[in-house]
């Protein structure tokens, strides 16, 4: 992209639009990516339609999460007390840096140099792996998809399907390089078996396991971790030390509420009725050490914002990504944040408005994300509200700002509006190159419409009397 408008519009070379352009250079691949995710979205629809109480479940889940936001103080204290009673050490981290330091300190005390970790978007958000590396500790991601992107030196591109952007031939090549599999073998069955052998060695040798948390129950002090592969369990059950990292918004009040959330989570994520394993950790194994790190990192501040606090209800199912027409065609990495897609686009600006100012614009505001969200987050409304806030804080590019202000002025002045309409139709008809050129971002990859003969106002006046 080398036009003037884009240079004016884009402050960095790595904003969403630029990265999406890069992803779109390979059109067949974009089509494949789009179709794969839509296939998962359809599986979700099928699973949802099989429960006649689906909409009621969403409503109840949303109510429970609203109740959590209103009583988070009480629930966190109850969770801490109950977990401690069961012999779990509870830590609190204000931000990513403190989280990383706490985790490092626990590992350092054991003298362990290599640890296994199951999927945790929180540790991605905090860049834990990179931090531990600087401290001389290697983290082995054990979810197959996460291990693939880790070997490739990339972050996950999707919170549930970390390597959804990788083709099996590329994975075959990657494994051939790192795991010594025969060149040219890209059979998923074979590659999965190779990864099983490779990771089993790490499960057997690692004495410390880090996991994320899907739900933390205030009433019982237990945490629930869901996987299909069994990697979280294999890691934890064979380790002397278990560290579970959890965002403070993952609290739910009562154990029985798990019935609601576990019914929604996997169906929304991949269309499965439930994940293979839904493990409830209430006490450490005899002789095992268990730590829970509660992480704030901007969440308590967001709780004070009536417009944006609802994003804290998220259970990280990824349904909003699978359905999003922009995500499906721009890829997870174009969001340059640990959590991609619509939910990432409303979470990221809360952490750093300047750095993520582009993300709320990576949407058509079609609202599909809000319609599939199992906890009824008003995602597309929040995208719109972020845009307004960003504009007020002058965090949008000059072209967009000038264009929007000009439009606002024209639309609020009747005579000017009528004149602009006439002028626009004349220009599009007789000198189309004035509009259809590379300086107009709306012309990019689009045919401009044929100008109508008359304005709607004129058509209306002519036709209103014909009934």
């Amino acid at each position: 992209m080398d036009t003037e408008t884009t240079i004016l519009d884009r402050k960095t070379s790595s904003d969403h639009a630029t990265l999406a352009d890069k992803f779109n250079l390979d059109e067949p691949r974009v089509d494949w990516h789009d179709k794969t995710l839509w296939f998962i979205r359809k599986k979700r629809d099928k699973a949802a339609s099989q429960l006649q109480e689906w909409e009621q479940l969403r409503a109840v889940a949303s109510d429970i999460k609203n109740n959590v936001l209103a009583n988070l103080h009480t629930y966190l204290l109850a969770f801490e007390r109950n977990a401690q009673q069961h012999g779990i050490t509870v830590h609190w981290a204000s931000d990513a840096a403190e989280h990383n330091k706490i985790v490092h300190k626990i590992i350092e005390k054991t003298g362990i140099k290599q640890v296994v970790k199951s999927k945790s978007m929180l540790t991605e958000e905090c860049h834990l792996n990179a931090y531990l590396k600087t401290q001389g500790i290697e983290v082995i991601d054990t979810d197959l998809g996460e291990r693939i992107v880790q070997l490739a030196g990339e972050p996950p591109s999707h919170i549930v399907l970390p390597c959804i952007h990788w083709k099996k031939e590329e994975i075959g090549e990657l494994f051939s390089h790192h795991l010594g599999t025969p060149e040219g073998n890209s059979d998923p069955q074979f590659l999965t078996a190779a990864a099983r052998i490779h990771l089993r060695q790490h499960f057997m040798s690692s004495r410390l396991a880090i996991t994320g948390v899907n739900f933390a129950v205030a009433e019982t002090g237990e945490i629930v971790v869901c996987t299909n592969e069994g990697n979280a369990d294999l890691g934890v059950q064979l380790a002397d030390v278990h560290i579970a990292c959890v965002g403070i918004e993952k609290i739910i009040p009562l154990r029985k509420h798990l019935g609601v959330f576990l019914r929604l989570l996997a169906r929304s994520a991949t269309g499965q009725p439930i994940t293979t394993y839904s493990s409830h950790f209430q006490k450490p194994r005899k002789g095992q050490e268990m730590h829970i790190v509660l992480v704030d990192n901007g969440r308590s501040k967001r709780l004070g914002s009536a417009d944006f606090r609802n994003a804290l209800k998220c259970i990280r199912c990824g349904a909003c990504m699978n359905t999003c027409p922009v995500y499906r065609r721009s890829g997870g990495h174009s969001y340059h944040y640990a959590i991609a897609g619509p939910i990432g686009a409303i979470l990221a600006p809360g952490l750093d408005m300047k750095k993520h100012a582009d993300l709320p614009f990576a949407s058509t505001l079609c609202g599909s994300c809000s319609n599939v969200c199992p906890v009824k987050i008003d995602i597309h409304d929040q995208l719109y509200k972020w845009r307004q806030l960003l504009a007020q804080n002058r965090k949008v590019g000059i072209t967009k700002r000038v264009a929007a202000n000009t439009m606002a002025y024209i639309l609020s002045h009747h005579t000017l509006y009528t004149f602009a309409g006439t002028a626009g139709r004349w220009l599009m008809k007789y000198v189309p190159f004035i509009i259809s050129n590379r300086f107009n971002p709306w012309y990019k990859q689009r045919e401009m419409p044929k100008p109508p003969e008359h304005s709607f106002a004129r058509w209306y006046h002519q036709n209103r009397n014909f009934k």
Partner: protein
């Protein structure tokens, strides 16, 4: 001020006023046959359901499928003849060569094919995950229609560690191709006792 106190203070100040929790009341919907639903769902996610009328059928099935030369671990008292009841005082890493683990489950859930099992039934927490093949046994009358019913039954019991197991370990991370046996068991056999 410690991070803990600071976080809690900001939350107390920022949390909105909210509504009290509502009771969860889901209508049972259309009544359905729990056993056939459980069977259909579990088979659709890669499990094998074997209805049995007597314990001997478990033995016959497993003997036919797995070599007795390999290591079997049994925790079902009624199957003592098949393999002696295992005793666990050792390191969980030593379970790595287990070919078949045979464990009793508490109950099944019809809507999702999951079986609830807690650690006192596992012998060792690692066993259901590290074994090559897993056989679970439940009684047909212990199948609940939904997860809500399951949690009503679990209620406030203490379990240290408990898990729902729904089918064999699996992944579809490579181009959405489903592969059974990701890190855990490659197959899950569910023996469903209908008569004894």
């Amino acid at each position: 001020m410690s991070s803990r106190d600071h976080i809690l203070e900001v939350i107390r100040k920022n949390q909105p006023k909210g509504l009290p929790l509502q009771e969860i009341a889901f209508s049972d919907g259309e009544p359905f046959d729990k056993i056939s639903k459980f069977t259909t769902v579990l088979e659709s996610i890669g499990g094998t359901v074997i209805p049995i009328n007597e314990w001997g059928e478990v033995e016959a099935y497993l003997n036919q499928r797995f070599s007795t030369e390999k290591r079997w671990v049994n925790l079902v008292p009624e199957l003592r003849n098949l393999a002696p009841l295992a005793d666990f005082t050792e390191d969980p890493h030593l379970l790595e060569n287990v070919m078949v683990a045979i464990l009793p489950g508490h109950f099944g859930v019809a809507e999702n094919g999951a079986v609830w099992i807690t650690e006192e039934l596992m012998g060792d927490r690692a066993l259901p995950f590290i074994c090559e093949h897993l056989a679970l046994i439940i009684r047909a009358e212990n199948i609940f229609p939904t997860l809500h019913d399951a949690y009503t039954h679990i209620d406030k019991s203490q379990y240290g560690f408990g898990t729902y197991i729904a089918g064999p370990s699996k992944t579809a991370d490579i181009e959405q191709s489903l592969v059974l046996g990701a890190h855990g068991p490659k197959s899950l056999m569910l023996f469903l006792i209908t008569e004894t």
